[in-house]
Symmetry: C2
Subunit: 355 residues, 2 copies
DNA sequence: CTGGATCATGTAACCGGTTACATCAAGAAC
DNA sequence: GTTCTTGATGTAACCGGTTACATGATCCAG
């Protein structure tokens, strides 16, 4: 026996399909006893509306699409979690789409979203926003997250990578470090490029040089960079990795080589994934509260779908979370510097933020 | 200007909608020059098919639904990653749905899947499979992952939690530990219950007692359990936590209290999330290769959708990955025991598996 | 030259909802 | 009592595809 439809209910309840539809959607112009009868019949037949049919006629799907470059690591899982939280609070569902850095795939994905979702959150740090937007289904609302800047005047969310990276490097310098290395993300990735620039800016202001090793945002590349430094016997006292995973990879490699962090070399990352608190020494990082960042993206998308989109760029300035990996002087404390972007909110040590 | 439809193309190309549909779907009975012409027109008009319309008429959506209890931590992110990988290889998209342990929500979610997805992967360790299945849209293929066993004879994937937990506890005992504590997951969660039982079985066989503290699979509850043990000054030499996050929480708390792991207390977890390799000491755990587990679930779902579903229960037996946290005798090595389920595959230290 | 097979194409129904508009009954105003 | 308004309900079009079936052209065998 196939699924019950509105026509089945209409026949069974001896009313028209229009009345069934109105009754089940809570329209006011249905007599109460008729409504109750229809609801009873619907329940008896086990009626469940067919989302695609509803979507087709009402032009609303109740779904939002999320395009991310990857799913590895805690950054994306936190981002998804925040998005899902916000979406489900509004009765929306999320579908996800990983583009794996492949622009070809990305375009196909965007096309596939037509007739599936009401709007898109697109995170594509490695391709130009304008290029992607050209392939967006016509009239599909979209929020861009950390895309290369375009002319489009689209709704955008971004992380102030330059400020965050500068603040981290300034923190390293303030704690006495002078011989700095940056492990960057892949060239062409806007987050990577901006974090590199922020680090370079801060070094330039302090009249220090900065050595740069290129990574790919994944943990093994941080480990590889550390191996190079160890083998060279490089004379350095601090490493700023462009994200936490590379920082962790580097730190583990240094520890295995007998180098003490932070006494001999300080390390900091970027993103402030939950993991930073769980390793030892805990990792200094720049925090944007990833989950809440994701939630904001969805919130703005919902506004855009409703049509009251302000269309501007919202920039999040990261907060430096000082932890053990850049001690020892400040070990376990936060930098208290009211004129800076450092955080001052207390954090329970080691418990993370799992609610 | 709204979106182009098949009728627009038909008018523009001076053919019928049927021919357009056939041409664009690669049916053979279309004259080559007609097909080319239609494709050219479609391209010129920027035609993108409307997924909901296609779904409605063809009864195929190209989407699979994933229902998970939570999104915290690396377990779910790895699971999703594996599912997404398998799905996208087959040209399918994933939509996800978090039930947050709320059966009410879960039922609503299952209903909402009707007309949205071609099939479901449902992971619901805390509710009965039969109860959930009762609310599945009629005829919707589904694969159950780690659900409480039901009579349904449904397609199921499960982890052999009892065997995994027993093997871990046997490993602890084999390395000389005798005063064991288990930090369990929440009661009523089938994974938690089975892991507890596995641990108890192994202890009973060795004629050892096992103290049990109840946690909730999240990191702070592991930390809390450790705090209790520390404050009591409990005389113990090993902790088996029911998952890695609680093990990590416990380990960090012990370390902060000056207790040396593994010398004074050995610790092991369960799940073998990527993180186990990145902390220090690295964490012994029972591995099922979460991503591949997720991929298998999707692969079986695809078979079920195609109709050649064998309908059985597929059980994965975890492999014990011995790492530093249960040393020192075996530190950094794997247990070589051909008659057991211990792994013998070499693992590059510290690089993780990020491909 | 004609009947039947083959093939490209068109017509129209259908998937399962929503909703504009028509209809009709009941109550209000005159 | 007639007309106008109001409100509940029904009819049928529509969303944008797919596809069963009808049609008509072409080609071949007899």
């Amino acid at each position: 026996m196939p699924h019950a439809t509105v026509r089945d209910i209409a026949r069974e309840a001896a009313v028209s399909v229009a009345t069934v539809s109105r009754a089940l959607n809570g329209h006011s112009n249905v007599r109460p006893e008729v409504r109750e009868h229809i609801e009873a019949v619907a329940l008896r037949l086990g009626y469940v509306p067919h989302a695609a049919a509803r979507h087709l006629s009402s032009a609303k799907s109740g779904m939002i699409g999320v395009v991310v470059p990857d799913l590895h690591g805690e950054f994306f899982s936190e981002l998804l979690r925040g998005m899902d939280r916000e979406a489900s609070e509004r009765g929306l569902y999320c579908m996800m789409m990983v583009m794996h850095g492949d622009a070809q795939r990305g375009v196909a994905a965007l096309h596939a979203m037509r007739g599936r979702v009401d709007g898109l959150v697109v995170m594509a740090p490695q391709v130009s926003a304008d290029e992607l937007l050209a392939h967006l289904p016509r009239g599909m609302p979209a929020v861009l997250v950390n895309c290369a800047p375009g002319q489009s005047g689209r709704t955008e969310l971004r992380i102030d990578n330059v400020a965050g990276a500068s603040a981290l490097v300034e923190h390293l310098i303030a704690t006495g470090r002078r011989r700095l290395v940056h492990i960057s993300g892949p060239a062409g990735n806007i987050d990577a490029d901006e974090r590199l620039r922020g680090a370079q800016d801060a070094c330039a202001r302090a009249e220090l040089s900065l050595r740069v090793l290129t990574g790919d945002f994944k943990e093994p590349s941080g480990a590889a960079a550390a191996t190079i430094l160890i083998e060279e016997g490089a004379d350095i006292d601090a490493i700023f990795a462009a994200n936490d995973m590379m920082a962790i990879g580097a730190m583990m490699t240094l520890k295995r080589a007998g180098i003490v962090v932070p006494d001999q070399i300080a390390i900091c990352g970027f993103d402030d994934i939950p993991l930073t608190r769980l390793i030892s020494p805990s990792l200094t990082s720049a925090s944007i509260d990833i989950a809440s960042f994701g939630a904001s993206a969805v919130a703005r998308l919902v506004k855009a779908i409703a049509g009251d989109d302000d269309g501007g760029v919202e920039q999040r300035v990261p907060i430096v979370m000082v932890r053990e990996s850049t001690g020892p002087a400040l070990r376990g404390h936060r930098v208290q510097n009211p004129s800076s972007i450092y955080n001052e909110k207390p954090e329970q040590s080691g418990t993370g933020e799992l609610p």
